[in-house]
């Protein structure tokens, strides 16, 4: 498999490989008004938005359908529904909101891929263990349970998603 941040994502600042030992690479993206991050190792590639084909009889709101990624049919989920985020709550007055474009993030685990649409992909950041903060009790309940830690990135406070829990919840939605 290609490194997560291949030439397909020119806008990203690749993580410094030498620093990998002292910290972890995470990829930050925006859903609605919230900044979220996943371990960069989880991300396979970032592509332009692809149309999803609905799957008959499936009405779980978490499951959007199938997308065609260069011939590979990948299940696409609605990350906002999975995490319980209001997508409409995005503040369009955000200075950069107009300049950014929605993208599709492909993640992969055990050879199985999953796609979801985000409003904006920021960058791969290298964060040290010390930079990760525990989740305070006032974290919104819905996203809170998926949040492994909080980290302050240049774009703002970012919730690092618990990958195991996220995969569990999404695969649940596919059945």
């Amino acid at each position: 498999m290609e490194p997560a941040m291949s030439t397909a994502t020119p806008g990203l600042t690749p993580a410094d490989e030498d620093g990998a030992a002292s910290g972890r690479a995470i990829i930050a993206f925006r859903v609605g008004a919230r900044w979220l991050a996943l371990a960069a190792a989880q991300a396979r590639e970032i592509v332009d938005i692809l149309p999803a084909h609905r799957v008959p009889h499936r009405r779980d709101a978490r499951f959007v359908g199938l997308v065609n990624v260069r011939g590979e049919l990948v299940p696409c989920i609605d990350i906002a529904v999975v995490l319980g985020i209001e997508r409409a709550s995005v503040d369009t007055s955000l200075a950069h909101a107009a300049r950014t474009k929605p993208r599709m993030v492909l993640i992969e685990q055990d050879g199985q891929a999953l796609a979801f649409e985000v409003d904006e992909v920021n960058a791969v950041h290298l964060v040290t263990q010390e930079a990760l903060r525990a989740v305070p009790p006032d974290e919104p309940a819905e996203t809170g349970r998926f949040t492994q830690a909080l980290v302050d990135l240049p774009v703002g406070r970012t919730a690092l998603i618990d990958a195991d829990l996220f995969w569990y919840a999404t695969s649940e939605g596919l059945r």
Partner: protein
């Protein structure tokens, strides 16, 4: 030379090297098969020469030396001074691999440099004709560093990057070689033995047989299978004696010898059970051979081997099992023995090689495109210059007057600057269009080739399936006391290997059926004026894009009147109706489960497997069975199947924004229905078609997806059929007909009702291929019952997210999470607990259980102790450490009954520790009831 020039040069070299190395690789591949080597050698020499030139320009001196040596070989071969045989080709292909690696990353040359003297030495050996074999070459040369990309020995090309020690590879290939060899020789032996009985010149056949036995003996000796050496030696000896006219190999002897073939096939298969069984039989078998040699035949052995051979008849040819021989397992240790192996297929090395070459070519093309992109970027500088020159020119002109000489000079300067930039751009542009066009042509040709090759790699000739059939026919007809000649046509017809596999059982059955029920006894045949020997024909052909396989006998045919009587006897139809049924309609009854016309159930074909099974099996392969019979002259069964399952021709329809496809063979018609033809069918929609009213069902309703807006024109309807019922499925639009490469739906989705497979069209749209039969069935049921209920075959399992929905119906049910890695236990617990009225979710291990607990809300956890990823103790610890879950009751149920295990579980925080051994449901309910209260059964 500056750094960037250097890089540019290397890029150019890479491109050139890509072309030349592809030519080298292609040429070498072609050389092996070429009848005329000269033109191929000339191409190869030119490619090596060009490669050398490119390496020289790029200043890659080591590569110059290597390519020079390669070129030298071709020159020498053209001069007849050295021979480029298969071994040499292997070596040279290894060199090409090395060159591909190095030219993609010339910087790696430093690291690879160490290998160079060895490579050159090999080439030198080849040049001077000293290269004996690939293995000899590799022993002369120190083994290259395993991490080096392309060690130039033959085996590394077959198993690239295999992390095994060299000895393993050698053993593995030896074993594989033996199997291949045994496979071929055993077929030769079987064919020869079959031919021996009717051969006009038995000597020729006997010589072939002797050679086959001899070759097998040699192969068995190499891998050290002593038992096979003994057996094949005795067999060979027998043929030698027969050739010397010392003994005669009669039909009984053939039986014994066919038994020997089975014996060898079993041992060669490497299957432990079969090998062990055969080892015990070895003394008897050798004794029977000795008896044959002495000219006497032990009766008991004949009988035994005759029955065993009949049983093994169909299995023997497919004895090329993938399992390894236990006595030779050294080299196969890498093969996981416990894990379920991934589905694997056999493919000829040549096919794989062709695919690999094409794939490599695709990579090269992609790199070429990157280079073109790079060149396109060169235009950005001149473009910017042109823009600013034009801008300044506009400023000058915009100032109003260019009267003064200085103003004119300024305008002139800007104009010249613009012109210069434009010229630069034009120079860059010239040729780029052509290059792009050529690229697009090459790329689409390559893609088509790749697609064709990969589809072709799924195909096998029909004959590969039939290898066991001559034997089957012989054994079965002998057992029945009948005489039969088997004729096979269309052995070379190519069939998808998946469909081929699915054909085996029905074909086997039809052949047995034909021999048993179709053909008459020799005496009856003679009495009916037919030759005593019956004829059975198996033929395969492609017709109208479908595969037709026919099994035809020249026997009795189907006795229509007897069939009619039987139908009435069985009360399947009234006497009156039966008398009016046509022959075709009567034949249909033969395909009913349990309906057999054989007055006595024979062991051969009356084993409860009837024609209904044949039809079911063929339908599973996407086909159909057609029966034709002429009383007194014979019966034929024609199986109609798709040529491949990978490719299907389908009608594309739009439902809402999504595309669905229905296999063309399943669609009766695609219609546009005038509004005037729409009819009311007892309050439900229908339409007039061929004088009847056909019910109409909306595809969007059926599939539970949003439909598009009702089109203004005539509605599009796909006409399907289920049984005798026609049914119309209304879709939003037709989108033509095309071929799809069929792929299974993502396994994570589970079974999706009405969907058979998935694919994509040339525009990149996802297309779901519908199971037309299922759609028709549901649609018909829906239309006839007028029901509007959900058609989902499996009601959606309650998920963690719809607690609310589930609980609105009645008082909230207590939820229990069962965590256990045994599916049986999970299922059993779920059943008994649900019967008690609890809501039950299950998780396969502690990790999944922990995820489920954090997302859902549960009243109690029932957990196993020993589980992968996260065990029960760890799960309990996490629960107790979590603020929200700390008070959640946990019961551990484990096989472990030692006191320390119990203590460990309870100390971690479990409320109860139960042992699985002899655990009564009542005890479990009692504990659960005490912890969270009983639940009224639903």
């Amino acid at each position: 030379v500056s750094g960037s020039d250097d890089a540019w040069m290397l890029d150019l070299f890479r491109e050139e090297a890509g072309t030349q190395l592809a030519a080298l690789s292609d040429g070498l591949m072609a050389l092996e098969a070429a009848t005329l080597q000269r033109p191929v050698l000339e191409t190869l020499m030119r490619a090596a020469h060009s490669m050398k030139g490119a390496a020289r320009i790029a200043g890659l001196e080591p590569l110059v030396k290597l390519t020079h040596a390669i070129e030298d070989i071709f020159v020498a071969a053209l001069a007849g001074q050295c021979d480029v045989d298969a071994t040499a080709i292997d070596l040279l292909l290894g060199m090409v691999d090395f060159l591909v690696e190095v030219s993609n990353d010339p910087a790696s040359l430093d690291g690879h440099g160490k290998q160079l003297p060895a490579l050159l030495a090999q080439l030198q050996a080849l040049r001077s004709g000293r290269l004996q074999s690939a293995s000899a070459a590799t022993t002369e040369v120190p083994k290259p560093d395993p991490s080096a990309s392309a060690p130039p020995n033959a085996s590394s090309r077959v198993t690239p990057g295999a992390p095994t020690a060299p000895i393993d590879i050698a053993d593995l290939s030896l074993l594989e070689l033996f199997r291949e060899e045994a496979d071929g020789q055993l077929t030769a032996l079987t064919d020869g033995l079959m031919a021996l009985e009717s051969a006009s010149n038995p000597r020729v056949v006997l010589e072939t047989l002797m050679r086959a036995a001899h070759s097998l003996k040699g192969a068995a000796r190499i891998i050290g299978l002593d038992s096979l050496v003994k057996l094949t030696h005795a067999t060979e000896d027998l043929f030698v004696a027969a050739l010397a006219d010392k003994i005669r190999i009669d039909s009984a002897a053939v039986d014994v010898l066919l038994g020997i073939v089975d014996h060898i096939a079993d041992v060669a298969s490497g299957d432990l059970a079969r090998t062990t069984a055969r080892a015990q039989q070895l003394p008897d078998t050798l004794q029977s051979l000795a008896a044959l040699r002495a000219g006497q035949l032990p009766v008991s052995v004949t009988a035994a081997s005759a029955t065993s051979s009949a049983a093994a008849g169909a299995a023997a040819p497919s004895a090329e099992a993938e399992t390894s021989n236990p006595s030779m397992s050294v080299g196969t240790a890498a093969r996981p023995s416990t894990a379920v192996p991934a589905r694997s297929i056999r493919m000829t090395a040549a096919t794989l090689e062709r695919l690999t070459v094409l794939a490599a070519e695709a990579v090269l093309e992609a790199e070429r495109f990157e280079l073109m992109m790079e060149q396109a970027r060169l235009g950005r500088g001149p473009l910017r210059n042109l823009q600013s020159a034009l801008g300044r020119l506009r400023d000058v002109l915009g100032a109003g007057s260019i009267a003064t000489p200085s103003e004119q000079a300024a305008a002139q300067r800007q104009l010249q600057a613009a012109q210069a930039s434009f010229d630069a751009l034009r120079a860059l542009q010239s040729g780029r269009d052509d290059a792009l066009e050529a690229y697009a042509r090459r790329m689409s040709a390559l893609a088509r080739k790749l697609s064709r090759e990969s589809l072709a790699s799924r195909m096998l000739p029909f004959g590969t399936l039939l290898r066991g059939f001559p034997r089957l026919v012989r054994d079965v007809s002998r057992d029945l006391g009948k005489q039969c000649r088997l004729e096979i046509h269309g052995e070379k017809t190519l069939i998808d290997r998946e469909i081929l596999e699915q054909l085996d059982a029905p074909l086997n059955h039809l052949v047995r059926n034909g021999l048993d029920h179709g053909l008459e006894m020799p005496s009856s045949r003679l009495a009916a004026g037919k030759p005593a020997e019956g004829r059975l024909e198996i033929a395969a052909a492609h017709r109208f894009g479908r595969l037709q396989v026919t099994v035809r006998d020249d026997g009795l045919g189907i006795d229509i009147e007897r069939l009619r009587r039987k139908i009435v006897e069985r009360s399947l139809e009234s006497q009156d109706t039966a008398s009016r049924l046509s022959a075709e309609e009567l034949h249909e009854f033969l395909f009913l489960p349990g309906f057999s016309t054989a007055s006595q159930v024979t062991e051969l074909s009356g084993r409860g497997v009837g024609l209904d099974a044949v039809r079911t099996q063929v339908k599973e392969a996407g086909g159909n069975v057609i029966l034709a019979s002429t009383p007194g002259l014979g019966t034929s069964f024609t199986l109609e199947l798709p040529v491949t399952r990978a490719l299907t021709r389908a009608l594309v329809v739009l439902v809402g924004e999504d595309r669905y496809a229905l296999a063309v063979v399943e669609v009766e018609r695609a219609l546009r229905i005038e509004h005037s033809a729409l009819q009311d069918l007892q309050g439900r929609p229908g339409f007039a078609y061929e004088g009847a009213t056909v019910p109409l069902v909306s595809a969007a309703d059926l599939l539970e997806v949003p439909g598009g807006e009702q089109p203004a024109g005539a509605p599009c309807v796909v006409l399907l059929r289920t049984g005798d019922q026609r049914i119309g499925v209304a879709v939003d639009a037709f989108d033509g007909e095309r071929s799809f490469v069929v792929r299974p739906l993502d396994g994570r989705l589970g079974k999706v009702a009405h969907v058979a497979a998935a694919s994509t069209d040339e525009h990149g749209h996802v297309v779901l291929i519908l199971d037309a039969a299922e759609v028709a069935r549901t649609a018909a049921a829906r239309a006839l019952a007028g029901l509007k209920e959900s058609t989902a075959t499996t009601p959606a399992a309650p998920t963690l997210f719809d607690d609310a929905a589930a609980s609105t119906k009645q008082a909230p049910r207590k939820r229990i999470l069962v965590v256990d890695d045994s599916v049986t236990i999970r299922q059993a617990r779920r059943q008994v607990l649900e019967a008690q009225g609890y809501a039950v979710d299950a998780a396969v291990d502690g990790m999944e259980g922990w995820s489920a607990l954090r997302l859902g809300s549960y009243d109690l956890v029932l957990s196993d102790l020993d589980m992968p990823r996260m065990n029960g103790v760890e799960l309990v610890r996490r629960i107790r450490a979590d603020a929200r879950l700390a008070a959640l009751p946990v019961v551990i149920v484990s096989y472990r009954d030692r006191e320390e295990d119990r203590r460990q579980g309870l100390e971690a925080g479990a409320n109860h520790y139960l042992t699985k051994g002899g655990l009564q449901d009542a005890a479990l309910f009692e504990v659960i009831g005490r912890l969270i209260g009983p639940q009224a059964p639903p």
